[in-house]
């Protein structure tokens, strides 16, 4: 089989054929015969499996010869098709070691004009561990380039900075949610709607998650600690998502204390559900790029968390 290779420079493939090992490309389950086989048996197998040659191995899987379609045709021609192959087979077999790069297989395909090569365990070994063909190599290259392309695509998605224009062109959405105290059933709604919205805009998934966590904690705070309040989410002109939570009271007497991880005033009932661990406000503060809170016993608590949509926050 004569195959011509394009001399055009395809740098990725050029690199890969030196990198990828024959071991990871070859077919490990291959067909072989012993020296007692007849040309007829081999001819039937070649036809059945649509292959162009088989290696002849001894009982220790050492290679002793090879029979190709050409040999079978000659056997037909010279009328010894029903005879044993042993005296006719090619004994000097070209092989390639499994720890070599696929470039060595390609070079041998070209040099010896063959389409398949038995693969040996290591250099100078006679033990056959697989067969490599041109189509094995092409499939492997396709598979590797596809996975590289997939990775690049993911990287690009991650690094996309949302441009100001993009945000400007999306309809400015302003969410407003009302929550009443002690209403656990709708808690999570703000976070889930907000998450879907920002995900739909194509914002980085980590950033979307941080916004969702902030919304969720703010919602839970309104449920657990207040007599009701509202949460609003908007996007400003500088690509920031702004989450505001305002409640009607009763207000936080000591904000510093409330921001201390682990400090809580939640009831036993709430804590049994896995809330009120004293982590809500610290979480909001940690996951936001900017965080403001003011509270008075008269007007309730006002919380504002700002999350930049374009730049990934590395610390989080």
């Amino acid at each position: 089989m004569k195959t011509s290779y394009s001399k055009e420079k395809v740098s990725l493939v050029n690199e890969l054929i030196y990198e990828i090992k024959i071991k990871e490309t070859m077919t490990k389950k291959f067909i072989f015969f012993g020296k007692n086989a007849t040309f007829r048996e081999i001819q039937l197998k070649l036809k059945e499996k649509k292959i162009s040659g088989v290696p002849i191995l001894d009982t220790h899987k050492n290679i002793i010869g090879i029979i190709s379609t050409d040999d079978v045709i000659t056997a037909f021609d010279k009328n010894y098709i029903n005879e044993n192959i042993e005296n006719y087979m090619t004994q000097e077999v070209i092989t390639v070691p499994q720890n070599f790069s696929i470039i060595s297989a390609i070079q041998k395909f070209e040099k010896y004009e063959v389409g398949r090569l038995p693969v040996t365990e290591f250099l100078h070994s006679k033990t056959i561990v697989g067969i490599i063909t041109l189509s094995d190599i092409l499939n492997k290259l396709l598979q590797v380039t596809q996975s590289i392309a997939g990775k690049i695509e993911n990287e690009e998605l991650k690094n996309t900075e949302i441009s100001a224009d993009f945000i400007k062109n999306t309809p400015k959405k302003f969410f407003r949610f009302e929550g009443s105290g002690d209403d656990f059933n709708c808690a999570g709604k703000v976070a889930s709607i907000t998450k879907k919205y920002f995900k739909g805009l194509g914002i980085d998934r980590d950033i979307v998650r941080r916004i969702a966590i902030i919304c969720y904690e703010a919602e839970m705070n309104i449920c657990i600690h207040s007599i009701g309040g509202i949460i609003t989410i908007e996007v400003d002109d500088e690509n920031n998502a702004i989450v505001c939570a305002h409640d009607k009271g009763p207000g936080i007497p000591d904000i510093d204390l409330a921001l201390t991880p682990g400090y809580t005033t939640a009831s036993e009932k709430v804590r049994a559900l896995g809330f009120g661990a004293g982590m809500g406000l610290p979480n909001i503060k940690n996951f936001a790029d900017k965080f403001e809170i003011r509270s008075s016993l008269k007007s309730g608590t006002h919380l504002k968390a700002i999350i930049n949509l374009g730049v990934k926050n590395e610390n989080k």
Binding site: F184, N185, A187, G188, A191, S192, K195, R205, D206, R209, A212, I213, Y216, E217, M220, L273, G274, F275, A277, M279, G280, N283, N286, F287
Partner: protein
Amino acid sequence: MKISEIIEKCQLKKVVFTADHEVNNGYTGDLMSDVMANAQPESIWITIQAHKNSIAVALIKDIKSIIFTNNVSIHQEIIEKAKEEKINLFRTRKDSFTVSGEIYSMLEAETEKN
């Protein structure tokens, strides 16, 4: 490692099973804020908190499977919500420590193999 493999090896009972998926990380915890702050996204989550808010937390963290330990009872409402949001729910008699240990060693063995 596939979640289906974990279910089989840990003998977890399927409460809701919507789709098989790959598991690379896990997190064990019963405090919502802790899970939200510290679980790796797309982890498998081991907890005794079987209520609607567990589903909300899973959604936020892109958690696709929750394992409820200590044989806690799971309300029909949660099952419906999980089906709707395509989150797998499993139950076991074992406690969180035991299940976490089992899954941890499986994931470790998997990493070594690779």
